[in-house]
């Protein structure tokens, strides 16, 4: 456990790692202590700033889901996505069946 690992570029052992861990933790705590401490806890000064509005209790109202990035695609290719969605049953055996079916078609194309 206490062996020193020599890599050719440096070394590592648990004591040096612990020393750096303690030093960096102390540094982070010191930085944290330099922040403002003159605010009132459990008041509005503790609350997230949301443009002067009350912060919605439902997190979905203040987050942008990743699917929003594809909104334009889904709108423009509405027919295509509707078809794909209808094919997605969520059952694994259906997907395996699609795989076998597709491989069979490609195999036939390759043979003939």
């Amino acid at each position: 456990m206490c062996t020193t690992v020599m890599t050719g570029y440096g070394f590592w052992n648990v004591f040096s790692w612990l020393t750096f861990f303690v030093l960096i933790t102390a540094l982070i705590l010191w930085f944290r202590s330099q922040g403002r401490s003159d605010y009132k806890e459990d008041s509005l000064q503790d609350e997230i700033f949301y443009g002067g509005n009350p912060v919605p209790s439902d997190g979905a109202e203040i987050t942008v889901p990743a699917s929003s990035a594809y909104w334009g695609f889904k709108k423009a290719l509405h027919g295509f996505y509707t078809l794909l969605d209808s094919w997605h049953s969520g059952i694994a055996t259906d997907y395996v069946a699609w795989f076998v079916f597709t491989v069979a078609i490609f195999a036939l194309l390759l043979v003939f």
Binding site: Y39, K40, L44, E47, G51, G52, N53
Partner: protein
């Protein structure tokens, strides 16, 4: 804990300012932006505009406070840590100006939150805004000293009759 700024007698902390447009025509806002341009460059004194009231020492308010903005202005004021000062920039915020008694207004600003410095003008020149903020610093220093004295005497609250009091966040929202 070592706090280097505690050894400074004056301007222990750079002034960080949050700007709230409560219904302004943007004339005053443009003059505020001019203050941070190279000609006036208030950032050389450490003053800067910040994006959240939780980091701010001073609140710059422009506009006559429309009904929609009144609650938002109260909340923004309440979110600034103490000590804090409010500087109103422009005639609209100071008195309502030509919009005085309009049915769409809840302002001027001092009807919504306590105001420390009024900067008149339509719009005020950047020099006037810088002077107003400087007066705000003087007030802020007084408030800061008051808070420090309160902390020195643990368990007791020192009240200085000469010291103007700023309403707490809860008091403002209660109003």
């Amino acid at each position: 804990m070592l706090k280097p700024e505690m050894h400074l007698e004056y301007l222990a902390k750079s002034l960080w300012v949050f700007h709230c447009n409560s219904g302004s025509c943007n004339g005053c806002d443009i003059e505020i932006v001019a203050c941070i341009s190279p000609r006036y460059d208030i950032e050389r004194f450490g003053m800067k505009l910040v994006g959240t009231p939780r980091h701010a020492d001073a609140l710059l308010v422009t506009g006559p406070v429309t009904k929609y903005m009144a609650d938002r202005l109260r909340r923004i004021y309440a979110q600034i840590p103490d000590p804090k000062v409010v500087v109103v920039v422009g005639n609209c915020g100071c008195s309502g100006d030509v919009f005085y008694e309009s049915h769409t207004l809840d302002g001027p600003v001092d009807r919504i939150i306590p105001v420390d410095v009024y900067v008149h003008g339509c719009p005020p020149r950047p020099e006037a805004i810088v002077e107003g903020v400087s007066k705000g610093i003087l007030k802020l220093e007084k408030l800061r000293q008051g808070l420090l004295e309160e902390r020195e005497i643990e368990g007791f609250i020192v009240t200085d009759p000469d010291q103007e009091e700023t309403l707490s966040a809860e008091e403002v929202l209660a109003e």
